[in-house]
Subunit: 337 residues, 4 copies
């Protein structure tokens, strides 16, 4: 196992703590090693494409953090690279791997909500609220591609596709509330070139409607990702701040006892949870990554393509790109397929 990073000192400390056999500040060297079969791309967005393409050329599987790329063209190039090379590829859309989200998907697939009509997602954080927070790569368009849109909206776009299906068109609004921030080197102020907040309306191919909103500057919201899906026969809700709970409403219940059920998704009947703690002893953030990696390794072991793939990464990117363009052009735009 080889770790790669830019800062030699922090890298060697990291490698030691987490049991990597080797460490190198040259990621090309890591990919070139014969004993490396899989490359996990966790760097800033502007590095994703180059690393993925190198991994593909070297015949290595690629596991990539979200968003896949800075823009749609870059994302498509990456998909082309892994497909032409025939290497396995997977997006790290870790929110798909929360047991409550998996249960939501099962319920929707089984028809428990009937025809899906409305999807709403709010993803609110406040880490960008302090105007003294230095200008990092996440606030620079050339490095990140976009701001809250690519960083956090991408999760709810992926969940929307996972739960409801393809999005057909969008109208949007991007906003930068804090327009400049201190440069990290203390040399003055630098311009924030991405959005602090993004919102868009959507229509799914199925005719369902979607409302998406994300922000980095909602005071008091730490990792508030709230989803609701309404169908003709029922509804579900989920909030990442209380991740082990899925709420479910069903018209199949007798009228006098209808209500949103607060399902604590920690029972043996629930996805993955039987492998962890006793009922009621909740899973946390990191288990979503463990489940994602489990899917990756299981798929590789079984010789099947892991899910979600870079196709999902490209599809999400297409929605983000359309939302950004629609905001700029001040009109509804179709999603490129």
């Amino acid at each position: 196992m080889v770790a790669s990073g830019r800062d030699e000192k922090r890298l060697s400390e990291f490698a030691r703590r987490f049991g990597f056999d080797h460490a190198t500040t040259d990621w090309r060297e890591a990919i070139a090693r014969a004993d490396v079969e899989l490359v996990d791309i966790c760097g800033p967005n502007h590095l994703h494409a180059e690393i993925v393409e190198a991994a593909a050329r070297a015949g290595k599987a690629a596991f990539c953090e979200k968003p896949l790329a800075r823009d749609l063209a870059e994302a498509k190039g990456m998909l082309r690279a892994v497909e032409e090379a025939g290497v396995p590829h997977m997006m790290c859309f870790n929110y798909r791997f929360f047991p409550a989200i998996r249960l939501a998907r099962e319920l929707i697939r089984d028809g428990a909500l009937g025809e899906i009509r409305q999807f709403h997602a709010l993803y609110l954080q406040d880490w960008g609220l302090d105007p003294g927070l230095p200008l990092s790569w996440r606030m620079r368009k050339e490095l990140a591609g976009s701001g809250a849109l690519g960083d956090t909206a991408v999760h709810i776009v992926d969940l929307a596709r996972y739960l409801v299906g393809e999005i057909a068109e969008v109208a949007g609004m991007l906003t930068t509330f804090i327009k400049e921030r201190p440069l990290p080197d203390g040399s003055g102020m630098g311009e924030v070139t991405v959005d602090d907040a993004a919102a868009f309306l959507a229509r799914f191919a199925s005719g369902a409607t979607g409302v998406f909103e994300t922000t980095r500057v909602a005071a008091g919201r730490k990792n508030f990702m709230h989803l609701e899906v309404n169908g003709a026969r029922g509804s579900i809700r989920w909030n990442a701040e209380d991740p082990n709970v899925l709420e479910f409403y069903s018209l199949d219940d007798p009228p006098r006892v209808r209500g949103f059920r607060r399902i604590v998704v920690t029972e043996p009947e629930h996805p993955w949870t039987g492998n962890w703690w006793p009922p009621g002893h909740g899973l946390g953030y990191e288990h979503s990554f463990v489940h994602a990696v489990y899917e990756l390794l299981a798929a590789l072991g079984e010789g099947r393509p892991p899910e979600p793939s870079f196709r999902d990464g490209v599809a999400a990117q297409a929605v983000l790109e359309a939302a950004a363009r629609a905001a700029e052009e001040r009109q509804w735009l179709p999603i490129e397929r």
Copy 2:
């Protein structure tokens, strides 16, 4: 309609605002009037017995605030008076008249929870927290009988009886945290002779267990009355700070979607609510009184005894008295029947 009170000025203002035809500072005069058929007793606890007994002697129906009396002997005397006089009598246990509580009772009666095993009730307020609050009649044993026990525990005792059945025995603890308070006339400090907080364990005649707690000094709790009932097949929960919601858990649901349902009890299917607002537009505190008075008038009109009656008032008082004595004697004691 005649209003009666001690302070002539405030009484006449009250009578005018609320449309009473007459007002008198002599409640005996009010009871004596030929056009009075029903007496509503809302005064301090130490006046309940005398007024009820006078009303009974005069052949008038009696509607009495909780607790019925300062102690069990007094309560029994009042019951005897109305029964011997053959006049209708009703306790104003208004919490029975919240739609969610009525629905809870229906579910329990219908067996939706199976055999009832456990009842828990917390009733927390904080109005007594300020040590500068003057010594009122509610803090003097000779006028109130007891403190939080008679004022607020009485509600959860009545609901326990309503939902689960008779209580057989108790062990308890009464506490006075703030032992003296300013006298209302500013002449110095006076001793608080009742409990600020009361807690007791109980066994119901059925074998179910009960845990009851109430307090006037729980910082931040305004009118937090939280009930939970657990049975062999399901559970229900209710909180008076969110009174239109009943939570219900049922083993009859399929395992993967079991969870407490948050039933918003404002639908046409629910008790009384069809007579009020559209679904979701909740009822408040006062509607419980309106429903109680509706029961009283409907029962009088139909010639049947209203419910709950003074028998329920006496039964609740017997529990309170046993809890107080058990606390004093530091042992479990049976409830007198």
Copy 3:
């Protein structure tokens, strides 16, 4: 006091129950009476204009249900009528009159949230979910003007203006999921000509952003009106299903104990509540109307214009109209001022 309605039998029953002195099926006759000073317009939307204009001509004050009119032109005509006649006028935007909303406004006005940046409102109901529900006036454009947009979005538009200020531009989406419904007379099916659901993005004149969504077909949602306002120094949230609670987050709190405070808005310090029940004993839906009427009568008594006025009704209508047109034209549109 005169009641007016179309159905003679139901009208006379209504007048009797609620203590009206007179009743007439001809609203013109009611307005013409010398002893009528104030006209309360609660009929279907298509009747608002005619009645308001008649009241104005007769020199009577007008109190009108929301939305003011079916469209902006009609609303403007009504405003012109009352202003030219010099009669007092008030919109029944009752949600402004919940104590928690009033407290929210005070906090915002006092700067407790700092510069306001984001407003989000979801108003979800499900009364339209049943496809067998007959086609009522609320589902016909010529009678209602619009569907969820005018019926429920109007409330959150008014609250947005009340809390944050004027809206400058919008992009929107209207959807009719259930396209035909049984005619009330049983003669077959009729077309639904209004929206079941509406969503729009907005920019306020101040630069703040807004996301608005409403629907009649969100399974399980009875009267779920959820608001959140985020500023540079804090946030507030409110949900009409738990109306006595306002949540408030402040950066002024010490970092380790920052969190959304759940303020139970029933204390003597809070707007209006000292006139009602003891702390913690919540107010319900109807008190918002009582407070609105109190404002109306107090303003009339003091000779000042009541608030909100028909100007607010027109301003809200302008937003609705722009949202509907923006949805149709598939682009962002400015609000007409």
Copy 4:
């Protein structure tokens, strides 16, 4: 690192998966090894004493699961053994190691709640609800010592001591609702000799009051551990089903904005959390164990006694024993010190 267990096949699988160097079905052999310095006792309660005493004799540190022992006498013997041997000892009271609980303790220590008056804890589970669940060691007195009392009440007793201080006296109630269960070997039914549910009232040495309740048969409750502490200046609440949140109410807030703050305890300012995920990305059940083990290893490294020690284990056991005896004798009993 050596693993020990009874079932050779499962043990060797376990040792392999979790990276143990050796495995043995003879725990005495494990303790005897020169390279073992610390013994982690996770077996059924009836084995704790023997293993701890052997570890102490061998000069090894002991880390023991709760409850320390089956009864007080056994617990005291274990404490004597480790103290006489001079070996480090720690109780695995993992709930002390949730960040929110640590923050609660800091707030109480800093006086944020003023004088502590009331402690309430409900710990409800439902894993025992199914009467078909076989009779395990947890339901047999000779192996477990007690039922819900030792298994789950022990956690809230420890937290009560941690947050409020020593308990002076108790009155209690133990109940076995399901009196026999299938034997694991299928040979018939066996008697349940421990409690399914336990409740007790308490007075702390400080004069504060306590109400404790735990059960294995509360339908719908998975791991619902709800704590509330009320003081003269404020209150705190915590629920293990939403473990990253601490609620805090303070009289130091201005009256109009007082309310329970929902503190999401995942910020850098909060205990331990800076070492884990970004703000809002919550910790789960297992992190409490990681923090406990961190304390153990840090204390060993620094040459100081780890906390909580077996003295805390004994103190908790004394409360459980008094609660059980008080229930049997039907009276209040002091805690043995």
